[in-house]
C-alpha cells in the first residue's frame, strides 16, 4: 500500500443565499493528498468513519465577518462537524491504534489531530452501532437529555409541545417526556413523520403543513406547559399564544431563520410577562463539560433496553454529505442524517 494516498474532502466554496447548493456552495476537492507514514509530531492520525449532518451547519456557511454562536466555515477550507473516527496511528499516549474517538472532524478521509481536547474515546460497552454516537447518543440526544434536565422543569401530568418532533432532537424529547409522564403534543412536516412520532408514543401529532399550528393547539382545549422550540418564527408565536401561565420555553433551534434573510417578527412576546414565562436558549456544547459523563452513563443503556427508539438516515460519501445537508434543511430527511465516509470501518 502506498503511503501517499488521496485525501478527498468537502470544501466550503461559496456563501449560500438560501439553501446550500451541492457542487456550488460546497464542492468535493480531490486534489488533496496525505502521507500516512509521515511523522505526526505528537499528533493522532485518524480515519474519519462517519460524520453528523445538522441544521446548524447552515449557520456556519456565512460570511466570516458575521458573528454568531458557532464559528463560520472558511472559504476553501473543509466543512467540519461531529463525527466518529478510527485511530490509525498515534504519537499521543492518550490514544492508541484501533480506538474509536468522538469529536469534531473535517469532512475528509484522514485527519491529523494535535489538539485533542475535544476528542473522547468511546468505550461503547453497550455495543451500539457507531452511527448512534452521532444521533441518539450524539449532539441531538445530548441536547434533548441535558436541555430537558436543566430547563424543562417538567412535572408529571403537564403538557409539552415539540416542533420538528421527528427530528433527531425532537424524537428524543418526545420519548423523554413520555417516560416522565407528560402529555406530548408534536408536529412535523409530513404524514410519514407524523406516523413515526406516533410510534414513539406522542399523544397528539399533526402535520403543520396541513393544519395551522395555532388552530391545532386551540382545538386541544388546553394550554402548553413546556414548548420545546426548534423552529422560532411563526411557530414560536403560536406557541406563545397557547402557553399556560408559568410555562417554560426551551429554545434549541431556529431552523425557520436559517435560510431566510428576513426573519419573521413576533408580535406577542408580551406573553412572557403576562403569562410569567421563562425562555432558555442553549447550545449543548456549552454544557458538555459539566454533563457529558452523566449523559454517557445514563442514555446509551436506554437505547439498548429499547426505552428510547431512534431512526437514522445514512448517506454515503462526501456527495451524500452535501445532499444530507440540503435534505435536513428542507426537512426532507427521515431521522438523524449521518454521512459515512469509510464504510469498511462502520
Amino acid at each position: 500500500m502506498p503511503s501517499i494516498v488521496p485525501n478527498n474532502r468537502l470544501v466550503f466554496n461559496k456563501v449560500p443565499t438560501g439553501y446550500p447548493v451541492p457542487g456550488e456552495t460546497t464542492r468535493i476537492d480531490t486534489n488533496e493528498k496525505i502521507d500516512l507514514d509521515a511523522p505526526l509530531n505528537g499528533g493522532v492520525l485518524i480515519k474519519v468513519v462517519v460524520v453528523a449532518i445538522d441544521p446548524y451547519l447552515r449557520g456556519r456557511m456565512r460570511d466570516a465577518s458575521i458573528k454568531s454562536y458557532a464559528p463560520p466555515f472558511l472559504l476553501g477550507e473543509p466543512i467540519t462537524n461531529f463525527g466518529v473516527g478510527l485511530v490509525i496511528r498515534s504519537e499521543n499516549p492518550n490514544f492508541k491504534q484501533g480506538d474509536r474517538v468522538y469529536g469534531t472532524f473535517e469532512f475528509q478521509k484522514y485527519v491529523i489531530k494535535h489538539d485533542t481536547s475535544n476528542l473522547i474515546v468511546l468505550k461503547n460497552e453497550e455495543k451500539l452501532p457507531w452511527t448512534a454516537y452521532l444521533g441518539v447518543c450524539g449532539m441531538p440526544g445530548q441536547t434533548a437529555y441535558i436541555g430537558w434536565k436543566l430547563y424543562a422543569q417538567a412535572k408529571k401530568g403537564e403538557t409539552v409541545f415539540v416542533t420538528t418532533a421527528a427530528g433527531p432532537v425532537g424524537s428524543n424529547v418526545v420519548q423523554i417526556a413520555k417516560s416522565e409522564g407528560l402529555k406530548v403534543i408534536a408536529s412535523a412536516g409530513s404524514d410519514e413523520k407524523v406516523e413515526f412520532i406516533k410510534s414513539l408514543g406522542a399523544d397528539v401529532v399533526f402535520n403543520y403543513k396541513k393544519k395551522d399550528t395555532l388552530e391545532a393547539l386551540k382545538e386541544l382545549g388546553h394550554g402548553i406547559d413546556i414548548y420545546w422550540d426548534h423552529v422560532g418564527g411563526k411557530m414560536l408565536e403560536d406557541a406563545l399564544s397557547a402557553m399556560n401561565d408559568f410555562g417554560r420555553i426551551v429554545v434549541c433551534g431556529a431552523i425557520a431563520g436559517y435560510n431566510n434573510d428576513k426573519p419573521y417578527a413576533i408580535s406577542n412576546l408580551h406573553y412572557v410577562l403576562t403569562k410569567r414565562l421563562t425562555m432558555h436558549g442553549f447550545i449543548v456544547l456549552d454544557l458538555l463539560k459539566d454533563h457529558i459523563q452523566e449523559f454517557y452513563s445514563e442514555y446509551p443503556k436506554r437505547i439498548t433496553s429499547g426505552q428510547v427508539k431512534h431512526h437514522e438516515q445514512i448517506y454515503k460519501g462526501l456527495e451524500g454529505a452535501e445532499q444530507a445537508l440540503l435534505d435536513t434543511l428542507k426537512g426532507d430527511n427521515q431521522g438523524k442524517p449521518v454521512a459515512v465516509l469509510s464504510e469498511e470501518d462502520l
Copy 2:
C-alpha cells in the same frame, strides 16, 4: 358625628382605547354612603389612607372577556390597587383599631374587608412615611428586590441596562445593581429624569427620546449582561441586539404595549438561541408568599440608612388618582405616584 357618611369612590366607567380619560373612562361616584356603626359580621372597617398608582392598572381597564394576568376591572365598580389603610373598627381578632394595614383596597373612602388573606399589618419599626410602603417598600421595591435576587444572576463587574429607570421599579433596580458592583446603563424619557437617575449612581444615562437606544448601546462599545425590561417592543429588540452571550433578560413590564392596539413585532428573537439568553417574565404578586418576609426585614432599613433613595409624587384625592394614572402611563410623573385619600391620617 353622624354614623351614615358619604363614601365617595372612583369607578371604572368605560374601556379606554388608548390612554384613560379622567371623567370618562373613570368617574367619581359621590352617591355611595356607608354606616360606620353598622355590624361588620366578622369584618374589618378600614379607612383608605393612600393608594398606589401603577402602569399595570391600564391592563385591568379592559373588556372583562379578555384574559390577562391581573383580573379586569368591572364597569360600575371601583378601581382597586395596593394601599395603606387605617383600621377604624374590627370584629376580626387579627386586626385592632389603629392598625396600619397594607393590602388591596378599592379607591374609596371606607372599605369593609372580610377576606383578610392579603392584608398585612405594618409594624414600621423604621418609622418610614406610610407612602413609602407603596413605593420603595411597596410593589415596586418588592419587584426590584425579589426579581433581581431570583432572576438577574448578577455578578460584580457585569453590565445591566435598565429602561424607565427613573420609575419606581427602575430606580430601585439601579441602586441595587450599583450596591452589588455592576456597571449600570439606564434610560428615561426626559432630561430631568436622566439627572435624577444619575443622582442615584447610574454610570451612563441617556434620554431615549433624544437618542436612539440601539445607537446609545452600541456607542458604549460593549454588551449587556442583564437587561431589566419595563417596556417591551422596540426597546426589547434593541436590548436583544446588544446582549452579551449568556445574558439574562428580566421582564417585569411591557408599558409599550399597554396603550397600543397593535403590538410592535420583534424580529431578532433568534438571539435567545444564538446568544444563549435566558428570559424571565414575572409578576411579584406570585412571589410574595415566599419572599415578602425577607423583603420587609431587609429593604426598609436600606431606606433609613440612606443606601436606597426614593422619590414620590403625591396626588390628592380621587381626582388626583385619575390624573396620576394618566401621568404614569404617559411617563409624565416623576417618582412613584401615590394618591392620598385621607390626608389627616398620613
